[in-house]
Symmetry: C2
Subunit: 370 residues, 2 copies
């Protein structure tokens, strides 16, 4: 019979596109003994988690909850609850996660209209308007922080255009939330989702979702049942609302972790956190440029939490990545999709965004490039 | 601004229908710092988790994996991958989770044929055969351990009947796996799912699924895309298979916890574990009968991990449940669905199934009934 040893993974320095490093305080909170999912003590925690999520998302939306799955589950929840078969949906495709939105939306019967741009570029409100002018759509979906390209989509003016043509505005802020400003209410975003394991520095397995009252009305006016049971907000909202009706067993420990990760953000303050992410990102960009890398995304639209550098000529990128992990215990990632082999993805997210990580990475890289 | 204190939940004695108590070893493993979801160290752990799941499920099925969500997500994965619109599905409905299977299956376009029995009763192979004789079906779904009724469905002869009529056999073993024998291969079950937070004593948020080669062939012959992205096994199996293709970020910490929980089962041994569950359940049943309770399910079909006692006349069940929690820190649950107000649900699952828990519960109950 095989022998299974004690868990003995290395303490990695996580500088890929997520998971980011998790502060010991969050790990300790996660390891607190469990209470039941209808325990009065847990119901109190749920209310606190909702408040803290509203703080981080800068929203007053009542329906602001953690979805019981990783960021992709939250993405699917954001789509499946608002799409009915035949609905027209406009999706900005300028990276891997725009593609994923198209795939998911089509599975729920949407007529998907792809608005394409090169990977790394961003959309202007005029481009969205031009598409909606041709034909209206129920929903416009944009990726705020594209983990595959390192681009940050400006949101100014987007909701105004979407709403003028009667569309809901949905955004993906998986890689941006907690690292750069995400102003759900000020921007007029109707539906947004994120992940835990990026700038929130919580382990993956739970993911924020927020829905404003207008989108909630549209959910309530559906003619068909939501075509996904686990993510059906008409039921999930009753567990997170005053009814407390059992739907599925909440992932208790993940909720403990999320609460602690959010509490850390609350203690640090959003503004200080954004400055920290920006500061370390700028150090990284300057250091990489010194070593002959060029950034894929122009400075204007560059996403501080995730950098996508092109390699200097002749660099054996795969060997360097492997040696960073094997010799320095440091993880970065290769490119995804059409940027595979073209760029790295270097994350400075949440707890991973610190001076020692940037400094070690640049020093190790310099040494390996000799 | 509100103040958020340190997490300070009580150390509950969990004797409800799940989550069950989690051994500190599992909590410690879960709190290990994270590695990335494509880290070579994590890929090794994934292989071990699959081996251990096969051990617990008593199967050789290659496609044996943890789904990145709670048991209901695994239930949905078990259905949505095998149902295409218009497929005929026969579902045994003798409790709350049979109802849930019907709800989910219908969302994926199945023509659902409900085979109904009173809550707490079980089905015979002849009853399944009579239904299939009328008209064949693609899939027959049965709940092995009904968490709402405390009944255990005998599985002998079920696969033989289902297969004779060309149906796949799917079972729910959420509350049975790890507490009573679940013999996937010997029984001839094609698809089965479970939960983590019952007899496996792992925190909720991850859930076992196993699919045999025959069902896998049917998955591969689908004419339509799986109508659920997050749970689409045609993609998920490539991450858990040799390709290691990224699908969604695995919940790293939950996988750490699951591995440790499974390792504990492997160390204890399945047979010893089943004897332990049965032994403490019998003590519970005898003690409850002494106090005037009657068991909802006849001994022959009673599920040791979850007991559903009817109250003695005049018992104020709600007050007693509340006092058990407030004064003894001990959680049990009320009835669910049509058994609401009729029975309690008292769990002795996994780590919760121990002499001190049964003894304390019976003594506390006796004291509160005075």
């Amino acid at each position: 019979m095989p022998i299974y040893t004690d868990l003995n993974t290395s303490e990695r320095i996580l500088m890929g596109p997520g998971p980011s490093m998790v502060r010991p305080r969050v790990l300790r909170a996660m390891a607190q003994p469990l209470v039941g999912h209808l325990d009065p003590q847990f119901l109190e925690l749920m209310a606190e988690i909702q408040e803290l999520l509203r703080y981080v998302l800068q929203t007053q939306n009542q329906l602001t909850i953690p979805i019981s799955g990783t960021g992709s589950a939250s993405m699917e929840a954001a789509l499946c609850n608002f799409i009915e078969p035949g609905d027209e949906v406009v999706i900005g495709v300028n990276g891997y996660f725009g593609e994923r939105l198209c795939d998911m939306a089509a599975r729920y019967g949407a007529t998907v209209r792809r608005l394409e741009k090169p990977w790394g570029a961003v959309f202007s409100p005029n481009e969205i308007e031009a598409e909606l002018k041709k034909k209206t759509a129920k929903l416009v979906a944009l990726v705020h922080g594209e983990t595959s390209t390192g681009a940050m989509q400006p949101m100014e003016g987007m909701a105004e255009v979407a709403h003028r043509y009667g569309s809901l505005l949905l955004i993906d802020c998986v890689t941006s939330l907690g690292g750069v400003p995400v102003k759900i209410d000020e921007w007029g975003v109707d539906i947004a989702y994120s992940g835990a394991q990026k700038c929130l520095s919580c382990p993956p397995g739970i993911s924020p979702l927020t829905v404003n009252d207008h989108a909630r009305d549209i959910l309530r006016q559906r003619k068909t049942k939501v075509a996904n049971w686990y993510l059906d907000l008409t039921m999930v909202e009753k567990y997170w609302g005053s009814e407390r009706t059992y739907h599925h067993t909440a992932p208790i420990s993940m909720n403990y972790a999320l609460r602690e990760a959010l509490r850390l953000i609350y203690e640090e303050g959003l503004e200080a956190r954004f400055v920290r992410h920006r500061y370390h990102a700028e150090l990284l960009w300057a250091g990489l440029e010194d070593l002959g890398f060029t950034m894929h995304v122009p400075l204007e639209h560059r996403l501080p939490p995730l950098t996508t550098p092109h390699f200097p000529a002749g660099l054996d990128e795969l060997t360097i990545r492997r040696r960073l992990l094997a010799e320095y215990n440091l993880e970065i990632a290769g490119g995804l999709g059409q940027l595979g082999g073209q760029v790295w993805r270097v994350g400075l997210m949440g707890y991973s965004s610190c001076l020692e990580n940037v400094t070690l990475f640049l020093a190790a890289l310099k040494s390996l490039m000799k």
